[in-house]
């Protein structure tokens, strides 16, 4: 599904130029769940923006579903984002002074989904991201950081994208909620065959993925398969019945 070759990204020019990616190559198959790990400043977000068609690489090629994305026009990229990709940002996620529900409905408006269906799907997405109904009509500045993250996840999956890109989606969440969110992503991955790429600092989170790509200093340093990914839904259940100690889990 994703195939990138020798991607580089340089910010700025001249003396102040900074190369955040120095030739990254890997591929992700359809239906995979991949985690990207690496220290802060290693270029994870930069890579993610390129994968999400939000930014263009300075050099290298990117094929998404066999099509060369690096040669697409702005409007074609918008089409791709609208139809195929759901994105969860590390920060600046929601429209200000706009209700939670409206934020999630918005991608469906741009995708021309008929209006009665929109609300239903948005509510469904919010519920499955672990946000309760009482917050649906709150403005985006009236909810907590963790709740913002969940609304962002709901927005990313509301238009059933085949590829979901999440930049530290559990970064602001407590362990219990992190497990709920991971469970949601795993369910989308397993039951609906969505491809998921997730950035995280936490090994405990990365172990829920089927493959782990480690980056450092703008380069891929290792790609390893995880034969036995942890099951977040199961862990949530165990945790609720007291059989799993959350403090032992840095999720």
């Amino acid at each position: 599904m994703i195939e990138i070759k020798d991607i580089t990204k340089t910010y700025g020019s001249g003396d102040s130029a900074y190369t955040a990616l120095r030739g990254v190559s890997f591929s992700v198959d359809e239906g995979e769940f991949v985690a990207i790990m690496g220290p802060s400043g290693s270029g994870k977000s930069t890579l993610m923006h390129i994968l999400g068609c939000l930014d263009t690489p300075s050099s290298g090629t990117y094929h998404l579903d066999g099509k060369d994305v690096s040669k697409m026009t702005d409007d074609e990229l918008a089409e791709v984002r609208k139809d195929k990709i759901g994105f969860v940002f590390q920060s600046f996620n929601l429209l200000r002074r706009t209700t939670v529900l409206r934020n999630v409905v918005l991608p469906l408006i741009y995708a021309n989904v008929p209006s009665p269906e929109r609300e239903e799907r948005a509510k469904q997405a919010l519920l499955s991201s672990g946000l309760t109904e009482e917050y649906f009509n709150h403005l985006s500045n009236e909810i907590s950081g963790g709740q913002i993250q969940r609304v962002a996840i709901a927005r990313a999956l509301v238009n059933n994208p085949s590829l979901i890109l999440a930049d530290e989606p559990t970064g602001n969440l407590d362990s219990r909620t992190s497990l709920v969110v991971l469970g949601t992503l795993q369910k989308l991955n397993r039951e609906h065959n969505r491809t998921i790429v997730l950035i995280t600092h936490e090994p405990d989170v990365a172990e829920h993925a089927g493959r782990i790509i480690r980056v450092s200093d703008g380069r891929v340093i290792s790609i390893e398969k995880n034969a036995h990914p942890r099951d977040a839904t199961e862990e949530t259940r165990l945790c609720d019945s007291g059989q799993l100690d959350l403090t032992a889990l840095s999720v």
Binding site: L54, D55, D74, A78, L95
Partner: protein, 411 residues
């Protein structure tokens, strides 16, 4: 994006930031309202002045006794101060080519009384032709006739202000013809009440009583006195006024045995010259107001421009986020265009209404007349709407061309 969604999105975006939207609208309102009000005042004043001059009578020439001074100023000090115009002069002037009507005038201020009230006002002895020369309309009864003049009739035609002063505020609705009135302790009979002429600038006829010239000379001017205060002449056409003025000058010089025109013992006020003198003044006034209006339009426009530019810059992140979740450039462009149109039209609507309201209030106070012109409404609205739309839409259009991350990171 469907139209309905676009409208909803526009409404939500504008109401999400009420203060910002409110200030933008306010800027537009002030810009438009001040332009409309100022131009209305300019236009209204110009109209009032020219209609007030025209109400003096068309193609009018006024001969006053006394040496020729500057146009427009000689007339006021001339009355009664010199005695050089006579009834026989008046009769002679009727023979001049292209003269349509002539009326001598003998006027003075006298005490006027009825049973219940008294006042002091101008009593003006005139000929019947005066009504034609000065465009007088009657409310009731008729103006002075030549038979009344021939018989030295003690009849009076009163102006509407006089009627109100003497007979109370609702005098015009009561039947005044036939009532007695004492002028300088002499008994007169009212034979007519004039329609209100309005205007006060040029000797209001509303506050005047007209009596036959012969009667005035007989009873008010003293024995055998045949000297007139002024002679009013109406030329047949506007084109003939210069010729009539020259012929009158020559005729009077000859009759008064004066060979040097600079020594003339009379002066002639040409209404046409007065009109052009006054309209050059009001023209300057209107230009001044238009310049002020133009400045407010520019200031208002810059205000709108500022607001729109800050709005878009402030909303760069929003544009980036919208693009990230699937908005195309067209979606962004139409949304910002719709918002700019909504703001400018709401502001424009209120501004036009407010400008109109100010013009109405100014007129209602009676200090000035303000007349709203469609051209000023279109100009003010067009310029503000144009600026609002261009500066609301163009930066958004530029922003929509950025890739989403650059827009999201914009500082």
């Amino acid at each position: 994006m469907k139209t309905q969604d676009l409208l909803q999105e526009t409404y939500l975006a504008l109401s999400a930031n009420k203060a910002r939207s409110g200030l933008t609208v306010l800027g537009i309102v002030i810009g438009i309202a001040s332009v409309i009000a100022l131009m209305a005042i300019g236009q209204g004043t110009q109209n009032a002045v020219s209609s007030s001059i025209n109400s003096l009578g068309a193609n009018l020439l006024v001969v006053t006794p006394g040496a020729a001074k500057q146009i427009g100023f000689g007339a006021s000090s001339g009355r009664g101060s010199a005695q050089s115009l006579t009834v026989s002069d008046e009769n002679a002037l009727m023979q001049v080519q292209n003269v349509a009507a002539v009326s001598g005038e003998y006027s003075g201020r006298y005490q006027v009384a009825v049973a219940a009230a008294n006042t002091n006002t101008t009593v003006d002895g005139v000929d019947g032709a005066y009504a034609q020369i000065r465009n007088i309309d009657m409310n009731e009864g008729s103006f002075i006739t030549s038979s009344q003049a021939a018989s030295l009739g003690k009849v009076a035609v009163i102006g509407s202000t006089v009627a109100t002063d003497l007979f109370g505020a609702n005098a015009t609705s009561t039947n005044l013809v036939g009532k007695a009135i004492r002028i300088n302790n002499m008994q007169f009979t009212i034979t007519g009440v004039m329609a209100t002429k309005g205007g006060s600038g040029f000797g209001s006829q509303d506050d005047t009583i007209f009596i036959p010239l012969t009667t005035a000379l007989q009873y008010f001017a003293g024995n055998g006195n045949q000297y007139l205060s002024t002679i009013d002449i109406e030329a047949t056409t506007q084109q003939s006024m210069t010729q009539v003025q020259n012929d009158i000058t020559n005729l009077l010089l000859q009759r008064h045995h004066i060979s040097d025109p600079t020594q003339a013992d009379f002066s002639i006020l040409n209404q046409q010259e007065l009109v052009s003198a006054v309209s050059s003044v009001t023209g300057t006034f209107t230009t001044l107001l238009a310049a002020i209006a133009g400045i407010s339009l520019v200031v208002g426009g810059i205000g709108i421009m500022n607001m729109m530019l800050t709005t878009v810059t402030e909303r760069m992140r929003e544009i980036g986020l919208r693009k990230a979740i699937g908005a195309t450039r067209k979606d962004i462009n139409t949304q910002f265009l719709a918002e700019a149109i909504a703001l400018t039209f709401v502001g424009g609507g209120i501004g036009v209404a407010l400008g109109w309201g100010i013009a109405y209030l100014v007129t209602a106070t009676g200090i000035m007349t303000a007349q709203v012109t469609w051209s000023s409404v279109l100009l003010a609205f067009g310029v503000s709407a144009g600026i609002g739309i261009v500066f609301g839409w163009y930066p958004a259009r530029r922003a929509s061309n950025l890739n989403p991350i650059d827009a999201l990171r914009y500082e």
